[in-house]
Every structure is written in C-alpha cells, then in structure tokens.
C-alpha cells in the first residue's frame, strides 16, 4: 500500500502541476501538487505514489549509501583474502604434499 516507485522526471507541464516520469522505460504522468513550485526539475529522481510525486530522491545521499555498500564489500573481500592466506600458511602438510607431487 505504501510502496512507491523511484522514477526520473522527463517532462514538466507549463503550469507545473503535472510531470511525465520514466520508470525503467515506462513513461507515465504524475501529479506535482504535493511539491512546492519549482522544487522538481527535469532530470530529478522522485518517488511516485498513487499518481503523485511524493518527494525528491537526494542523489548525494543515494550515492553515499551505494559507496558505503561498496566499501563494506571491499572490506569483506579483503578480510576473506587475508583469512585464506592465513589458513594456507597454517596448513602443515602443504610443503610435504607439494614435495610428493614433484617426486611423482
């Protein structure tokens, strides 16, 4: 019920009461009467709910979240790499096995 869809504004009516938004390739009209005049501009990302633009999406905040997620993933990948190296170092039979393989 309270779900809403991120969309991009591609057209604004002359009286600024309506706009056309693109939602992943689908275009539809949306009412702007819940937004202050001039608040929504072409190219803005907005949230759409039952035919209305309910708010703008703050690009900087969205990018900052995405950057945080990337950092977390990089950090985790690094940790896993380090753990793999440590496990490999601690493997007692590794040298022996390798020597046996060479012999064969």
């Amino acid at each position: 019920m309270c779900l809403s869809i991120p969309s991009k504004v591609v057209k604004i009516s002359d009286d600024q009461t309506m706009c056309t938004v693109d939602t992943m390739g689908v275009q539809r009209n949306a009412n702007l009467m819940m937004m202050e005049d001039g608040d929504v501009c072409l190219g803005d990302y907005v949230l759409l709910h039952i035919g209305f633009v309910m708010n703008k999406i703050d690009e900087e905040e969205a990018l900052s979240s995405i950057d945080t997620y990337k950092e977390i993933l990089e950090h985790m990948n690094n940790e896993e790499r380090q753990r793999a190296i440590l496990e490999d170092d601690e493997c007692e039979s590794r040298g022996q096995k390798y020597a046996e393989e060479i012999k064969r």
Partner: protein, 386 residues
C-alpha cells in the same frame, strides 16, 4: 560512483552480495548482545520485504521480528468495509476506491461481490481519477472510499482541494485515514490485563519508509525519549532493511537509544511540509479509531474538518450506514500477532480455513499482512484436510 542512474536506485539496494555482507556484520554484532531482541517492523511494506527476501533465515536466532499493524487494509474493521458495501449499493452512487480494497470481505461480502450484484464500484490507481468519473457522470454521486496512512492521506487532501476549487457537487468522501505513531504507542503501552507481557515484547522499531517521507522522522521522537525504544527509519529495499536492522543492533551493543534515519535519500526530520499542510487544512483527528485486531486507539484516525461536512459521506448517508462493531472470528489470533504475542503459523486456522483467497483474519487480507506474507513466502506446508 560519480553519477546516479535510475537503475542504481533499484539494483544497488537489492544486491545479494551486500545483503550477505550485512548478514555477516549482524551475525558478528549479535554475539555481543546481552539478550535476544525483538524488532517490530511497523509497516506492511517491510513485512513483505522481510519475508520475500527470506531475511529471518539470514539473521541469528537472537534477532526476532514482530510484524506490526502497518497495512491500512488489514487494520480496517469489518464495520467500515460494510460501510463501503452499503454505500456502493445506494441508488445513483459510484463507489471509488484503491485496488487494495477489492477482495476484503465485510459481513455481507467484498466490494467485488457488490459489483457482481450490480453495484457500480470502481478501483482506481490514483484518487484524482474521481474527478473524471464525476464529470462524466453528473447525475450520479461519486463516493471516494479513502484508505491509508500518512503516505496516502495528502493525496486525498489534494482531491478534496480540487473538488472545492472546481465546485464539483457530486463527489463525497468516506475517510478511513489513520496515523502510525498513536498505534505504536498503543502497542508498547497497553494498559489492559495483558500489560506486563505486552509491554516487554517490542525492544525496537524499524520505522516506516514512506509514512516518514511525508510526516518526517520527528513523529518518532518520543519513542527513544519517553519509551526507551530505539527507532531506525528504514527504506523498503532488502539492503535498506538489513542496514536498518544492523543500525538497531549497534545501538543495543553501544548502549544507545536513539532515533536514526537509514533511508536518508528521501526521509528528513521535517518531512514534506506542503503535504502536511494539505492534511491539516482538510482533516482533523477523530477521538477514537477502532483498529481491526487491536481495538480502539485514541487519536489515531482522521476525519474531514467540520467546515467540509457537506463532503462527508458518513454524515450525508448517516441513516443507512451500520453503526455496530463487528468482531473477528473467535479462532483468529491476529490481535496477538499484531502485538507480537504469536506467529502466524501458531494460529489453528492459518493456511487451512484462513487463506489469502478466503481470509478470516485481518493479517491475511492483503499481501502486506503478516499471515499473507508467511503464506506466500514462508515455505510452510499446510494440511489439506481442513
């Protein structure tokens, strides 16, 4: 990343690797918790996300969800659904509502049943479609049956404003808008016989996403301050939900109790002030609203202000609308589920006598209700004998 693309707003917040990364962070942090914590996700949208993406399976056993009452269709008492049904059956009436209401059964049947009996019931995507319907049918009265939380209320307010500005005489409103903070208070501060057990169930709230876009995070200020419950306002995507849960756990292990916003890309402290003004211009609080499964909650419902009484279908059709309260089936435990006292599968009629196709209780009636989400995504097996 330097420039945002629309697909980032979908893909990056549903990324399975990021979800797994948060699952690891949460698992590490949860080991430091002194006791298990119960997190209530207030909103049905969150319930849907949590079940759809199987988040409980990704979380340690000491993190438990309590599925809250944030589904406006689920909490609608039967007598108000009966109002919609009765209004639709009146002569020269077109009853208009949002699609979520189609299948909800009242005591005489659903609006779909009313339509099958010849009533003119129309389901719209946006309330503004009422204007076109009214203009095309000047000899009929269009009644907009308005439902929803703070998210949807301002859209009804815009419609009221347009009806007044355009001097449309044939649109009336049946208002069923409700507000979230009051029912959150009710759930943690019940003063009835169960008070001790209820009071201790909810440790923290995952705050609603789009209610907060409109109303601002300020509406939850009192929960950390007066009720010692942390609130993290969180977005609806699965990565948002995992990050929100992680933020709640960090508050517990760092012994903080605060209001935080995870969903900063759209939620601010103040919210959408123009939308709030629209709500305040046309609506005022009702002293009581009866929530299905929960009961009377003071100040949680809205009605049209008295100066707009001429547009209020509850007043205009007062003589034909039923006034008695209708209780749910005695086997239904939705009230306990909404209060965190029980899980859907503990109900004896869950998945047997009560299914999404034939719901008995409130939590099964909409896809955002806890029981419907468990039924659809819970991977549970059901007895076919009942």
């Amino acid at each position: 990343m330097e420039e945002l693309e629309l697909k980032n707003l979908y893909d990056n917040f549903r990324d399975s690797e990021t979800i797994k990364a948060y699952a690891k962070i949460i698992a590490q942090d949860a080991k430091k918790l002194e006791k298990p914590i119960n997190i209530m996700e207030v909103c049905g949208g969150h319930t849907h996300t949590i079940m759809k993406y199987g988040l409980p399976q990704l979380l340690p056993k000491n993190i438990n969800f309590i599925h809250g009452p944030g589904c406006p269709v689920c909490i609608m008492p039967k007598e108000r659904i009966d109002h919609a049904y009765v209004l639709s059956m009146q002569e020269n009436v077109i009853l208009v509502t949002l699609g979520d209401m189609i299948k909800i059964p009242g005591s005489n049947g659903s609006l779909q049943d009313a339509r099958a009996k010849g009533a003119d019931v129309r389901f719209v995507y946006s309330p503004m479609e009422c204007i076109k319907i009214a203009e095309e049918n000047p000899e009929k009265t269009v009644i907009f049956f308005a439902i929803g939380f703070e998210t949807t209320t301002p859209m009804t307010a815009v419609l009221v404003q347009e009806v007044i500005n355009r001097k449309l005489k044939n649109i009336l409103f049946h208002i069923n808008h409700v507000t979230v903070p009051e029912v959150m208070v009710e759930l943690i501060d019940s003063r009835d016989v169960h008070v001790d057990s209820y009071n201790n169930q909810i440790d923290a709230f995952l705050g609603p996403s789009h209610v907060s876009v409109i109303a601002g995070s300020k509406i939850y200020d009192k929960f950390p301050k007066d009720y010692a419950r942390p609130v993290v306002v969180t977005g609806f995507e699965p990565v948002d939900a995992m990050q929100g849960i992680s933020m709640i756990i960090k508050q517990f292990i760092e012994k903080r109790c605060e209001l935080e916003i995870q969903y900063k890309r759209v939620v601010s402290t103040e919210g959408n002030l123009k939308a709030q003004n629209l709500i305040n211009t046309y609506f005022e609080k009702m002293s009581l609203f009866r929530w299905r499964g929960i009961g009377n909650v003071p100040n949680s419902g809205l009605k049209l202000r008295n100066i707009y009484a001429q547009y209020d279908a509850e007043k205009v059709y007062k003589d034909v609308l039923p006034i008695s309260e209708i209780e749910d089936h005695k086997l239904c435990i939705c009230g306990d589920i909404l209060r965190g006292m029980a899980k859907p599968q503990e109900c004896t009629i869950f998945g047997t006598a009560c299914k999404p196709t034939k719901p008995v209780g409130s939590c099964m009636v909409s896809s955002e209700g806890a029981c419907a989400a468990y039924y659809k995504y819970g991977n549970l097996t059901f007895s076919t004998s009942a």
